[in-house]
Symmetry: C2
Subunit: 315 residues, 2 copies
C-alpha cells in the first residue's frame, strides 16, 4: 500500500491543470439562513466530464510514461469514474476500456463512448466483472486505474480541497460525500498540510452507511449492494481510503433518503445547480445536525452533476 503524500498533490496540480476546470464556489443567502452557518459550495458539477473524478483520472493518465500510456488505461465503473477516465484518456489520445454490466444505464455507456472510450459489457456480478476485466487487461496490457483505491487518484482528488481553501478564507470545516472515500481521502491529504485546523466531515446515506459503521467499529465494514438514491455512494472503503478516513476524519454524518432528495431539490431550486443525489448528502447531513455547524464557515463539496433528467427523484 503506497500512501500518497502532499508532494504528490503538488505534482498532480501541475500535471492536471491544463485538463480540468478551477471550479467556482457558490453560496445562497437562503440556505445559509436555513442552516445557521455559512456554506461554500465547491461546484465540481461544473468540472470537466461533470464530476470531480476528472481530477484523479487526469492525474493517473497524465502520470503514465509514454510506454505505459501507449497500452492505454482500463477500469470497471458504471459511474463517473468510467466517464472521467475516458475523458482523460481522450485528452491524451490513448485507448481507454471501461468494463460495466450490460444492465448499466445506456446514458453511462454513451458518456464513456462520447469521450472516445470503449465499453466492454459483463454480467452484473462481481465474478463476471473480474473475469472480463482480467481478460481486457491480458489482451491490451492496459494500466488499471481503480476508481478510488489508487494513490494517483487520491492525489488528483486532493486538488479539489486544495483549491477550495485557496478560494475561501478561514473555513472551519468541510463536508464531502463518502462512497469509496476517494474525495474524502484526497481532502484529508490536502488539508492535513494546507489547513490542518479545518475539520473534515464525511456525509453518507443512512441506507448505505458502511463507512459510518466502519468508522465507529474501527475496521472496514463492506455491505453487499446497498440501495440508495445517491448511487455514487454504494461502494465500500478500501485499504488506502480507510487509512485517511480512520486517521483524519472528524466524524461521519448520515441522512435519510427523503432528506437527501429534499436537500437536492432545495439546491436545484435556490442555487440553480444541476447536481447529483450524491452531491446533496452533505447539505442533508448539515441540515440534520445543525448544532455541529452553527455559526461556522463550512465548505461543501458538490461532487458531480451527471444526473438523468428524465428520472429525477422527486418525480
Amino acid at each position: 500500500m503506497k500512501i500518497p503524500e502532499f508532494s504528490d498533490v503538488e505534482a498532480a496540480e501541475a500535471r492536471i491543470r491544463p485538463h480540468i476546470h478551477r471550479t467556482p464556489v457558490m453560496s445562497s443567502t437562503f440556505i445559509n439562513e436555513l442552516a445557521g452557518a455559512q456554506l461554500f459550495f465547491k461546484c465540481e458539477n461544473f468540472q470537466k466530464a461533470g464530476a470531480f473524478k476528472a481530477r484523479g483520472a487526469s492525474n493517473a493518465v497524465f502520470g503514465l510514461s509514454d510506454d505505459e500510456a501507449g497500452r492505454g488505461v482500463a477500469t470497471h465503473s458504471s459511474g463517473n469514474h468510467g466517464t472521467c477516465l475516458s475523458y482523460a484518456a481522450g485528452r491524451r489520445r490513448i485507448p481507454c476500456t471501461v468494463v460495466m454490466p450490460h444492465t448499466a444505464p445506456q446514458a453511462k455507456k454513451d458518456a464513456v463512448k462520447g469521450y472516445g472510450g470503449r465499453v466492454v459489457e459483463c454480467e452484473p456480478s462481481t465474478s463476471s466483472r473480474e473475469a472480463v476485466f482480467a481478460e481486457v487487461v491480458a489482451q491490451t496490457g492496459a494500466e488499471f486505474v481503480h476508481p478510488y483505491n489508487d494513490p494517483r487518484v487520491i492525489a488528483g482528488q486532493a486538488t479539489c480541497a486544495a483549491e477550495l481553501v485557496s478560494q475561501v478564507a478561514e473555513l472551519d470545516a468541510i463536508v464531502a460525500p463518502i462512497g469509496g472515500g476517494g474525495m474524502v481521502s484526497g481532502s484529508c491529504l490536502a488539508l492535513s498540510t494546507l489547513a490542518p485546523h479545518v475539520k473534515i466531515y464525511a456525509a453518507e446515506p443512512e441506507q448505505a452507511d458502511d463507512a459510518f459503521r466502519s468508522f465507529k467499529a474501527g475496521h472496514i465494514i463492506a455491505d453487499d449492494a446497498p440501495q440508495t438514491v445517491a448511487d455514487g455512494l454504494k461502494v465500500p472503503l478500501k485499504d488506502l481510503t480507510w487509512h485517511f478516513v480512520k486517521n483524519n476524519v472528524t466524524d461521519i454524518l448520515t441522512a435519510s433518503e427523503d432528506e437527501i432528495v429534499g436537500a437536492m431539490k432545495l439546491i436545484w431550486k435556490r442555487m440553480k445547480l444541476v447536481m447529483e443525489p450524491s452531491s446533496a448528502v452533505p447539505l442533508a447531513a448539515i441540515l440534520k445536525s445543525p448544532e455541529v455547524f452553527a455559526g461556522k464557515r463550512v465548505g461543501v463539496i458538490v461532487t458531480g452533476g451527471n444526473v438523468d433528467l428524465d428520472k429525477l427523484p422527486w418525480n
Copy 2:
C-alpha cells in the same frame, strides 16, 4: 417618453451594486462544437431572486426619494418582475404590492411573499387587473414600477450587458430573449456606448413572435395571449422598448417550442445550469441559424432560473 441614457446606466451600476450579484460567465466545449461558435453564457439564473430583473427592480427602488419610498412600490406581474420588485423593496424595507391573477401559480405568489411583499389577486383579465391595480395605487400612493417599459428598469437591466463585455473580451454579438424587451433594450443602451461594434440579436419563440413581426413591419404588433413554454416572453413591446429594438437590434431570430425545450435540456445536461425555458430561446435560435454565428464570439443572456421543478417541459 423619457429615453434612458448611458449616464443612467452608470448611476444604476453604482446604485444597485450592493444588492445584486456580479454573475459568472460560463461556457461548454461540447455546445461550442455543436454551435460552431464560441458561446459565453451570462448566468443571470444565479442573480438575486433568480433573475436579471433584480437589476432593474433594484435600480427603481433605490432611486426613489425617501418620501416616495415610504409609500412603497407596486406592480402587476405574475413572473420574475414581481418577485424581484419584492426582493428589492425588502432590501430597502419598504412596502411592495404585486397584483396578479388568482390563477397564477402558487409558487409565484409564495415567491413574492417570501421576500416580504404583498400579493393582491385580480381576475385573469386586463380590465380586472387595471381596476385592482388602480385601487392599490389609490390606497397606498405606491410608485408604479412597470416590468419593462420604464427608463429606470431599462437602465438597471443594462448593467448586465455592461458586466458581460467587461468579463469577455472581443465579443462579436450578444443574443438575448425578447418578451417585453427590457433586457434587449438595456443591452442596446449599454453596448451602444461601451461596445458599439457588438451586434445585438433578440431571440423569440415562434409561437409568441410579436417582436419579430413588429421588427419586420416597422411598428409595434401586440398579440393577445400567445401560448409558449417560454412563459416569460408572452408580453408585447411598448414604446420605450420599441425605441431600442427598432434602432439598435441587428435581427430577431425565432425558434419552435421543440427547439426551445431541446436547447433547455441540453444546457441543463451539459452545463449543469437550472434555467427557465425563456433562457433557452437564444441557444435554440443560435443552433437553428448557425450561419449567422459561425466562428463568432457570442454572449448569451441566461435570463433566469425560476422554474417549476415538478413540471419540467420534457416530462
